[in-house]
């Protein structure tokens, strides 16, 4: 028996003994199955998005009328709208951008271009990474304890904008650092070579080259701010606001007014949260409609940022 096996009259080569062919085939089938599984599972992003959009559309499409955008909240679901919410969101994100962009970009530039390697820099770096992991509701507690009661800003647009600015600061800082780091050193050397100072090199050359990357990060950060709910719940954003903030322009001297910064406000996510927690299905349809608007806005911002990044990556060749 054993002797005939080793003689090569047998058609299968000797190395393929012990069911090797089947094992190899099984391994190949497993591999093919895994590739299929991989494609299916990786599509979970697209599938979830479809399910979300589908669910929101079927529940809320009928509510998306022009009046929905132009009405204040109301006790009657069919007359309620998101006017105060979208104006509030716009103002809050504006304040947020006004604070977070300069501070975040400056911090990123400092860490990448100016900071010396010492323990202070290490502390700041570790700290920025840690801040990115702090739960958003904790920023709400910070705002409640310091901004609302400590500084007396109250439950205002300014409080909300500042809170969200602190929340997205790590995002802006990290995006700035990565884009600034990607600018090749030869550009800095050329500028130094003709006698530019450090700030001239940074502001005339490094920042312009880094600006596409920075703006991508800023857009992602602002879309996060737009969709953020928990910290604003903490500072007491009201969900029943039947008036708009004071207009920034007045017809008498001094013509501009910053009163709106201190006005109470509501934002889109808060309005949606309020509607979704009511048992009445009519209000839940409102929530779906508000969610649809919110989702489209944030997805558009994120999608634009991703598209912009891919385009920049393929266009810029250092």
């Amino acid at each position: 028996m054993a002797a005939t096996d080793t003689v090569s009259t047998d058609r299968t080569p000797p190395s393929r003994g012990f069911g090797a062919t089947e094992r190899i085939q099984r391994a190949r089938r497993a591999e093919a199955a895994f590739v299929g599984l991989g494609i299916v599972v990786t599509s979970v992003g697209a599938v979830t998005l479809m399910a979300l959009l589908g669910g929101l559309l079927s529940d809320g499409w009928a509510r998306l009328t022009p009046e929905f955008f132009g009405n204040f909240p109301s006790r009657r679901a069919t007359q309620a709208g998101i006017l105060a919410a979208w104006v509030g969101s716009l103002l809050v994100v504006l304040v947020c951008a006004f604070v977070a962009v300069p501070v975040g970009v400056a911090a990123g530039v400092y860490l990448e271009e100016y900071a010396r390697r010492n323990w202070i820099t290490d502390v700041i770096e570790i700290n920025v990474n840690n801040l990115a992991g702090v739960p958003s509701i904790v920023y709400g507690l910070l705002a409640l304890g310091v901004l609302v009661y400590g500084l007396g800003l109250g439950q205002s647009v300014a409080t909300a904008g500042l809170t969200l600015a602190l929340l997205i600061l790590p995002i802006v800082i990290v995006a700035t650092r990565e884009s600034v780091r990607a600018v090749p050193y030869s550009i800095r050397e050329a500028a130094y070579g003709v006698g530019a100072t450090k700030w001239q090199v940074t502001s005339h050359h490094v920042l312009p080259y880094a600006s596409p990357g920075i703006s991508t990060g800023v857009i992602i950060g602002l879309s996060r701010a737009l969709g953020e709910t928990a910290p604003l719940v903490m500072i007491g954003a009201l969900s029943f606001i039947a008036f708009l903030p004071t207009p920034p322009v007045r017809d008498s001297f001094p013509y501009i007014s910053f009163q709106w910064l201190l006005d109470p406000f509501t934002v889109m996510p808060i309005q949606m949260f309020n509607w979704v927690s009511r048992p009445d299905p009519a209000f839940q349809a409102n929530a779906a409609a508000a969610g649809l608007v919110l989702l489209v806005m944030t997805l558009a911002m994120n999608g634009f940022a991703i598209w912009f990044r891919i385009r920049m990556r393929s266009k810029i060749k250092w």
Binding site: T42, Y110, I137, G145
Partner: protein, 314 residues
């Protein structure tokens, strides 16, 4: 213009030039100081967070014993006979995060292995943006999804007795939310494994799947474990999904098909009511916030330690 005619040394040392360089130097220093101040803002923010949480928590613990806080199984701070045992909230938080992890870990790992070891550049560039978009969806929209789409779906199919508010659907949706964190961190970890290891395995006749599971995954283990822990930390701090879909009743339970409040849901619930500044209920949300911070800090430190401790050096 006129002084261009003079010899270079005179131009460089002329009083105007010296004054200009001096101004320029002062300006440079001022700008650097300003930039440093902006970078230091982040440290100030951290310190302020810790200070605020500790100050209000100390006020809270002057009314409530810390032993009761950490051991009692009842949390009813808004009742007249209030009891302050954080355990039900901690349990609710861990339970919902565990459900999320059970959803996100297998899916995230398969995605990471697929994207890092199998997918071509084209497939990756098409599917990855959709995954990234998942982490950009507002959490309040996810909350709606959990309460009004996932829960009814579960009730209609496999769990007819599921209550309207339950930890299960909140956890599942939270799991979907954290998939991008797990998959992208894991993919990074696996891509950092040098190709020589893969080549060695493939040369021995292993298939790509065998190579991935028996060579690449063990080699990237520290990064994968860190990704999982960071994702838990993310789920622990998530507020809106659980506040909307998991219910508001503190419930000492290990059963995800029941409703249970998490730490974050409690904080949001109290904030929604009109709470008087300085009351015990007001202080209790800071004590709860401190507990939450401590939990996420433990997870973040664990991730850091895992990455350091088990890092394979190539």
């Amino acid at each position: 213009m006129a002084n261009l005619a003079q010899p270079a040394t005179t131009r460089l040392n002329s009083p105007q030039a010296v004054a200009r360089r001096r101004r320029q130097y002062m300006r440079e220093r001022a700008i650097e100081a300003l930039l440093f101040a902006c970078a230091a803002v982040s440290v100030v923010v951290t310190l302020t967070i810790v200070l605020v949480l500790i100050r209000e928590s100390l006020a809270f613990f002057s009314h409530v014993s810390i032993v009761e806080f950490l051991t009692s199984r009842t949390w009813t701070p808004l009742f007249s006979d209030a009891e302050y045992g954080i355990l039900p909230l901690v349990l609710g938080t861990l339970l919902s995060s565990l459900v999320a992890l059970l959803v996100a870990l297998p899916l995230g790992m398969v995605i990471a292995i697929y994207l890092s070891e199998f997918a071509g550049a084209r497939v990756r560039e098409t599917l990855k943006p959709f995954l990234e978009l998942l982490s950009g969806i507002p959490t309040v929209v996810y909350g709606y999804f959990a309460l009004l789409i996932v829960t009814p779906l579960l009730q209609a199919t496999i769990l007819p007795n599921l209550p309207g508010f339950n930890v299960l659907s909140a956890g599942i949706v939270m799991g979907i939310m954290i998939i991008p964190y797990i998959s992208s961190l894991s993919e990074d970890a696996m891509r950092a494994v040098p190709d020589s290891l893969r080549d060695g395995s493939l040369a021995m006749g292993a298939t790509r799947l065998q190579t991935s599971i028996k060579v690449v995954v063990p080699a990237a283990f520290s990064g994968l474990a860190a990704a999982a822990v960071l994702a838990i930390s993310r789920a622990v701090g998530e507020t809106m999904i659980v506040a909307i879909a998991a219910g508001q009743q503190p419930n000492f339970t290990f059963n995800p098909t029941e409703s249970a409040a998490t730490i974050t849901a409690y904080i949001a619930q109290v904030a929604l009511g009109d709470l008087p500044h300085g009351s015990i209920a007001y202080q209790s949300i800071f004590a709860a916030g401190l507990t939450l911070m401590a939990m996420t800090l433990v997870f973040n430190l664990a991730a850091y330690w895992l990455r350091k401790r088990f890092r394979e050096a190539y």
